[in-house]
Amino acid sequence: MFLFFVLFGLPYNVGELHKAVANLIAQNQLLLLIVLAVWFLYNLKCIDYITKEIKLPQQQFLTCLQNIGTKKCFGYLCFVQFMIFIPVIAYAVFIIIIALKNNAYIVVGEIAVFILIMLLITPIIYVRTLQNRLREISFHFFTSTVRISKTIITIPLVYIWNSRKQMLLIAKFFSLLLLLLFIRTYEPDHYDIRPLLLCFLLSTISNCAIVFEIKSFENNYLQLIYNFPISLFRRFMQLIIMYALLLLPELLLVWKAYPLFFHLTDYIQLILASVSLLVLLHTTLLTGNINMDAFIKIVFAIAMALFFIILYDPGIILPVVILLIAFGFFHAYYHETEKT
């Protein structure tokens, strides 16, 4: 969403910008590799979404597709994949045209083969999901060796690790990459926490899809915790600890920026700001029946507001205020369970 906004919304002359980008891709193998990797990640996200949808109990009627035969079923799902992949195909055709103009025939071949593989392999995964023959991608090397105590704090995180691995890995990949690139490339001429704080908040926001999944999981499977004798304040603290654990990789990686980008005293601000932001996003989901589209808009609005507020260097006051607002939402809506 962010990349789409930056690439198609911000530039003054969108056509010229994309021509230049396509020219660069056609001439640089490394850049082409990055583009193909991004398309591949997009396809993984689509596969995750479609297979998840197929497995929903209300989609059980789709098993009747097995009666029409595997070939015909594969044909239908090829069409589905084509429709899903249209944005990528359109951009790929655009790059291919530019590459042909540059006589970069190898690039043309590489893109065409990549698109064909994506269009033909993916429907096989959907067919096998329909036939219940798809084995889950497993990461037993971790789950079998580490036994995590299942508490109210860790259960949602274990759920994300068990059932939303792709989402978790992609979110963490983008989040950590962003942070790492910033630390490696930005050279501050004087001490200022704000650039790192802005980057860190952007990195934190990459976890917003995980926040949405955690809330959905709570709605579906953890309704009974409303019957537990836990005070509102304690439950809020559990939420803070849970998101601090989720952000542990970012909070550890940011030490690479020490002491050039931040002082020890500012580290508390980084922790509080990032954790309070995720807690705020979680509590906004308590206010009503918010779907993913609406949630993305909320995230975007909060990110924009924070961007300008951070420029004024509010210091520790900002995360404290965010936490207070989050607690306000929590206090007002936590027991309004039916709204979510």
């Binding site: 109210i152 259960i155 579906n220 953890l222 309704q223 915790i225 409303y226 537990f228 004798p229």
Partner: protein, 215 residues
């Protein structure tokens, strides 16, 4: 004792349940009514799972709205169709519940043995049958020292032997710990299985006392 004060539950503009004043005395209480009459809604309201207007007081002391934490220590609940995260084992769920409800893991393990699901204790609940999940949810409702245990259709999906075991557990807990039960069921209990101190009827968007004998 459970006291209901000016209870009203609405979904959108439709009133589902309205109880001006009602007291349910301690004991084993049966709540009956047609489908959609508000039985499960009432149980969920008492268990603090869904919001509503008015207040419920337990033990003459604790109000759901004013002393929620103390109130919820007195109330346990087992759903009609319990849904637990599939990756958790019964062992982990029991630890989770015992930690929250201050209950004994060993006692709950004994309950699972009585209900013949202890051999699946360390297996994830995703591989349990619906009957086994139902038994597990009933065992979890017995965790801790609640004053009231709310059982929503405890006999559905359970086998005949388990029904006898569940009825015995209810009688035993009521006799030993003076724990009261509010049970909804469409199945008829015979007197030997379980006798009720009070019967309530959910009808016409309200709850009324059907019959009472001082058993």
């Amino acid at each position: 004792m459970l006291q209901f004060n000016l209870i009203k539950k609405k979904y959108f503009d439709a009133t589902i349940l309205s109880v001006d004043a009602l007291t349910i005395n301690n004991g084993i209480v049966l709540l009956q009514g047609e489908n959609g009459s508000g039985k499960t809604t009432l149980l969920k309201m008492i268990a603090g799972l869904i919001p509503f207007e008015g207040d419920i007081i337990v033990k003459n002391n604790f109000s759901l709205k004013k002393q929620r934490t103390a109130y919820l220590r007195c109330i346990n609940y087992a759903e009609t169709e319990p849904l637990y995260p599939g990756f958790l084992t019964a062992q982990e769920l029991i630890k989770f519940f015992c930690n929250a409800k201050k209950g004994s893991v060993a006692e709950t393990e004994t309950l699972l043995q009585h209900l013949h699901i202890y051999d699946m204790y360390k297996k994830p609940v995703s591989i349990y049958s619906s009957g086994m999940i139902k038994k597990l949810s009933i065992a979890l409702a017995f965790v801790g020292e609640p004053k009231w245990i709310l059982l929503d259709e405890p006999l559905i999906t359970t086998d005949k032997n388990a029904i006898d075991v569940i009825c015995n557990l209810i009688k035993e807990r009521n006799a030993k710990a003076a724990t009261s039960f509010l049970i909804t069921s469409h199945q008829n209990f015979n007197g030997a299985q379980l006798s009720f101190t009070n019967k309530l009827l959910a009808h016409d968007h309200t709850i009324t006392t059907m019959h009472e004998d001082n058993a």
